[in-house]
Symmetry: C2
Subunit: 262 residues, 2 copies
Amino acid sequence: MTPQDVRSLRPAKARELFRDGLRTPTAGWCRGWTQANLLAVPRALAYDLLLFAQRNPKSCPVLDVGDPGEHRTGIFAGDLRTDLPGYRVYENGVPVAEVADVRDVWRADLVPFLIGCSFTFEDALIQAGVPIRHIDQGVNVPMYVTSVPCRPAGGLSGPMVVSMRPVPAALVATAIRVTSRYPALHGAPVHAGDPAEIGVTDLHRPDFGDPVEVGPGEIPLFWACGVTPQAAVMASGVPFAIGHLPGHMAITDVRDHHFQVP
Amino acid sequence: MTPQDVRSLRPAKARELFRDGLRTPTAGWCRGWTQANLLAVPRALAYDLLLFAQRNPKSCPVLDVGDPGEHRTGIFAGDLRTDLPGYRVYENGVPVAEVADVRDVWRADLVPFLIGCSFTFEDALIQAGVPIRHIDQGVNVPMYVTSVPCRPAGGLSGPMVVSMRPVPAALVATAIRVTSRYPALHGAPVHAGDPAEIGVTDLHRPDFGDPVEVGPGEIPLFWACGVTPQAAVMASGVPFAIGHLPGHMAITDVRDHHFQVP
């Protein structure tokens, strides 16, 4: 399918393709629909995760939380165990599998969290004239583990993860203004410019996703990223969790406008 | 003290007065500082309460959550057991005491939640020319239990509680615009006009606080209220909880501007 094809798909159709085995980053998919990070943890850990999210709202804006064992939520009419284009399974903080289907490891006590994703505001950036490099290059967005600590909650702690988009200097203000309007999808950038200031040493070697070119006259902008709670799962040695494969998101049934503030 | 006196007090000084026994509603106190609702529940109930708040963000915007047994938090440098001007203690969902000090009933497993309060934006309303009737009358704000159900979470369910301010018709748009900028303090009203539409049958008989006059040409505006989780404690028969006396708030050390969005 062409970028134009995937851009105009409805969420249910995209989820069907993922359920049938298509593995792809979801940037540029289903224009106008909200994308979300998935993290499912056992009920015994759910309070720590919800409090971690409350204490770190830039990186962990909670869109919805399912009840234990549920594999759909009010904003996601598909099956959270099959309808994402990729999953990571964690044991004791270590990613032990990257799979296309987690039905065999889903547990009755798992609480699914859906957390806002910055892919959602990329269409608004494009409409405002801000190019999105990873979409233009047809790759996954670059994501980096920073040296910025999150505020801990119970047994959960870890560093903030960011996504990066290079933006022409003259469009930096536009990019900040546009994304500020989506606080539930990470909102405005957390950092602009020198990556070393947030502990990122080499833009060409992202911790997740793919590198993209930063051209002359472009400023790298860094947005808090919903992979942050997965970094906390790893840093904290959480016994069991299921997340999405970074960049391979849950495409929800909620319009992006729903999360736009004036 | 005059209204002008209490308006210009610093939070620490107000808390000292409350600690020394002054019992008063806090509308109009400590201009420029954020006021908050308190609800402390046992750790075993904390997930349900945090999820209830996440699912009902208009009435339960969480400003901060302490760790179990803590009686101060990052945004409140006083003692949550003594520094509010009034408390309500609940057993099995029933208010069993209204007291000035809860040190003797505070428990090591209690998790204190601080939830945004609409008193915080009243100064911005006054600056914008919107009169605040309960301040002018020197009484507590009227609060009503509505027929609007909250979205349940675990064992917690109950109706939305609202506060009411009568606003001259020509200033309704201003009041909505101004309060929209404070989503963490309940934001824009949830209802305007006919109280019967949200199940409020008699404005002269509020469920909490005092009645105020609604003049000719004024529209009653209703804001979601942070007493809502206390209504859920009552409706759900929660074994034990401590809340503030409605209208008698925790005055925090955070500026109201901190919670203002563009």
